[in-house]
């Protein structure tokens, strides 16, 4: 790895750590300063002031704020995100159970959206003008303008409720046994449940790669080196695929990585519509139920994923673009 890249890597890592720390601290502050008494969830007929004090103590909530903060950071670094108020289990466990579901949903949706979007975008760049372009562009913009959960509602009604082709929610059929991630990945039932939420997300996410690919292709196709390629008598295929596409893909690839990060948080509504047991839904339920440790943990995890992916996207772009990775040498 050359000097420029090494420098960049170091810079980015330092930046990453700073933002992670800032976000985690922000989460801590937000949740600590929240109104409402978490012990309200545990009120029983024998609830006394002592019980309440004991509860507060067991949650570490009776210590001064700055002490709580240090414990919080220390625990975070050790991977201890506290215990869920409502479910009584370690937050980390709950998160790790839900995380794979979100990851699978995100990766599949994004993958489909980008695969289709890139091809369609390149195709549109090729065929300028005409009815296709006049229809496709507004359509792509429209899918980006629609609330994802609404798209989900449309698909749910049309393809599940009214026709029964697909399940109406969840990641597994009722009564199905609890299975590990690996088992899930090869389970037909799992994928059958995945189709609608993934399709919804893919539809929503499609617009960006399509429009971006088209735009960058158009830019690249008008570049001088494409004219040169024609002068060299190269085949159209060679020109488009080898030169134009490779140049145009760089920003799109970066967008993909950024999209991964953003999606993990944005999946919240889709997971809720379909009852998909991912981190997003976990967050929503935790917030609605005032389960602060769980909500906080989910929030931090989602934010961490976002920042991590952003950093990776940055680095990947630098590594892929020879103008950055190789630098100038005279």
């Amino acid at each position: 790895m050359n000097k420029t890249l090494r420098h960049l890597l170091f810079e980015r890592l330092r930046h990453l750590l700073f933002v992670l720390w800032a976000v985690a601290s922000l989460a801590f502050l937000l949740f600590r300063l929240a109104p409402g008494d978490p012990t309200l969830n545990f009120i029983t007929p024998t609830f006394t002031e002592e019980t309440r004090a004991a509860l507060l103590h067991s949650f570490g909530l009776d210590r001064p704020l700055w002490q709580q903060y240090f414990f919080y950071l220390a625990n975070l670094l050790r991977g201890d995100l506290g215990t869920s108020f409502l479910q009584g289990r370690p937050v980390l466990d709950l998160l790790l159970e839900a995380l794979p579901n979100t990851i699978v949903l995100t990766v599949v949706s994004l993958g489909v959206a980008y695969a289709v979007g890139i091809v369609a975008g390149a195709f549109l760049a090729f065929r300028r003008g005409g009815v296709v372009e006049a229809v496709a562009i507004p359509a792509a913009l429209a899918t980006r303008s629609a609330p994802e959960f609404w798209l989900g509602m449309l698909l749910l009604t049309g393809l599940a409720f009214q026709t029964g082709w697909f399940p109406t929610g969840g990641a597994s059929s009722p009564g199905a046994p609890d299975i590990s991630l690996v088992q899930r990945l090869v389970s037909g039932d799992f994928w059958w449940h995945l189709v609608l939420p993934a399709l919804t997300l893919a539809l929503y996410l499609l617009g960006l790669p399509l429009l971006m690919m088209r735009a960058t292709m158009l830019e690249v196709l008008s570049d001088e080196f494409i004219t040169m390629a024609r002068m060299k008598g190269l085949s159209r295929w060679s020109i488009v695929m080898r030169h134009a596409a490779r140049n145009a893909l760089l920003p799109v690839a970066t967008a993909f990585a950024l999209g991964l990060g953003a999606s993990i948080g944005g999946n919240v509504v889709v997971e809720t519509v379909f009852g998909w047991p991912g981190i997003g839904r976990l967050l929503v339920n935790a917030v609605q139920g005032a389960d602060y440790p769980l909500a906080q943990g989910a929030f931090v995890m989602i934010a961490a994923a976002l920042v991590l992916m952003n950093t990776l996207a940055d680095l990947a772009y630098a590594a892929l673009d020879p103008r950055v990775s190789v630098g100038a040498r005279r």
Partner: protein, 286 residues
């Protein structure tokens, strides 16, 4: 006057921007004339005879049918324009205001101001939008105010970055130098001289921000963090979902508000796409 004429020329040559502007105009019109246009009061529970008119299908009496609690869907959609405009415009103005001021300050003043704003932007960009808004809504009080605040507080970095870049290039222009040499204070230079130059760019982001704000309101309402007392498209969708409209196939209930949202957000995108040519002619030459 020149600006207005340029505007009309733009609308004629850019079909996208024209459509976007037309959509906004229609929505604004509907919002203004809502009481006249809507056949019923959106909150009124309608009855046929003595029974509540629940889940009525599309008919001459109820053009878009009724909800599970007997309210007229069409009227709700019409009155929904008001909430949409309110949230959209307020949030857009807020985002653009914050983003522009911060971008202006960090771009023009540089130094520690720039560093501070940049660091702040980095942290904010590390926050996932929807989860953050949810958390804020849950921790304060759900409603329109927190939605608008969230949009303003979470979405300003992109605007700020772009404004900053433009300010950096403007700073080196000769007329800024001239202003400096005649002893203008930095504040005056920034807000009287530089600000007007970056406003078109800010407006561009504003039109897209409207869309983001409306989508944010819809999502927040859908998750139960909206204001159930207001008539908004997001609340309509949430009610539909919660009241089995999906399993009942009540398309007439949840499709229209969705389409309304799509149109309004789309308009923002279209206008920003079309305006690029007006504001940045050099870019368009490519």
């Amino acid at each position: 006057m020149r600006g207005v004429r340029a505007l009309f020329r733009l609308l004629r040559s850019e079909p996208f921007a024209a459509v976007g502007a037309a959509i906004y105009a229609v929505i604004a019109l509907v919002a203004a004339l809502a009481p006249v246009l809507a056949p019923h009061d959106p909150q009124e529970i309608l009855r046929t005879g003595r029974r509540v008119a629940r889940y009525m299908p599309v008919s001459p009496d109820y053009w878009l049918g009724t909800t599970s609690s007997g309210r007229d869907v069409l009227s709700q959609v019409i009155f929904g324009t008001r909430a949409a405009l309110l949230v959209g415009l307020t949030a857009a103005v807020a985002v653009v205001a914050i983003g522009t001021v911060l971008g202006l300050l960090s771009g023009y003043l540089g130094g520690w101001v720039d560093r501070l704003v940049s660091k702040l932007a980095d942290v904010v960009l590390g926050l996932p939008f929807l989860p953050s808004m949810l958390v804020l809504a849950a921790l304060t009080r759900p409603g329109t105010t927190v939605i608008i605040t969230s949009v303003a507080v979470l979405l300003w970095p992109n605007t700020a970055r772009v404004i900053r870049a433009q300010v950096l290039s403007l700073r080196e222009r000769s007329w800024v130098d001239a202003a400096r040499m005649t002893g203008c204070s930095p504040g005056r230079i920034m807000f009287v001289h530089v600000l007007p130059q970056v406003l078109p760019l800010a407006a561009l982001y504003g039109s897209v921000a409207i869309g983001w704000a409306i989508l944010a309101e819809a999502s927040a309402s859908f998750l139960g963090f909206g204001d159930p007392a207001t008539v908004s498209w997001g609340v309509m969708l949430q009610e539909a979902y919660a009241n089995q409209a999906l399993s009942r196939g009540a398309w007439n209930w949840f499709v229209p508000p969705g389409i309304a949202i799509v149109l309004m957000v789309l308009a923002g995108f279209l206008i920003s796409r079309g305006s690029e040519k007006l504001l940045f002619p050099k870019l368009a030459e490519q």
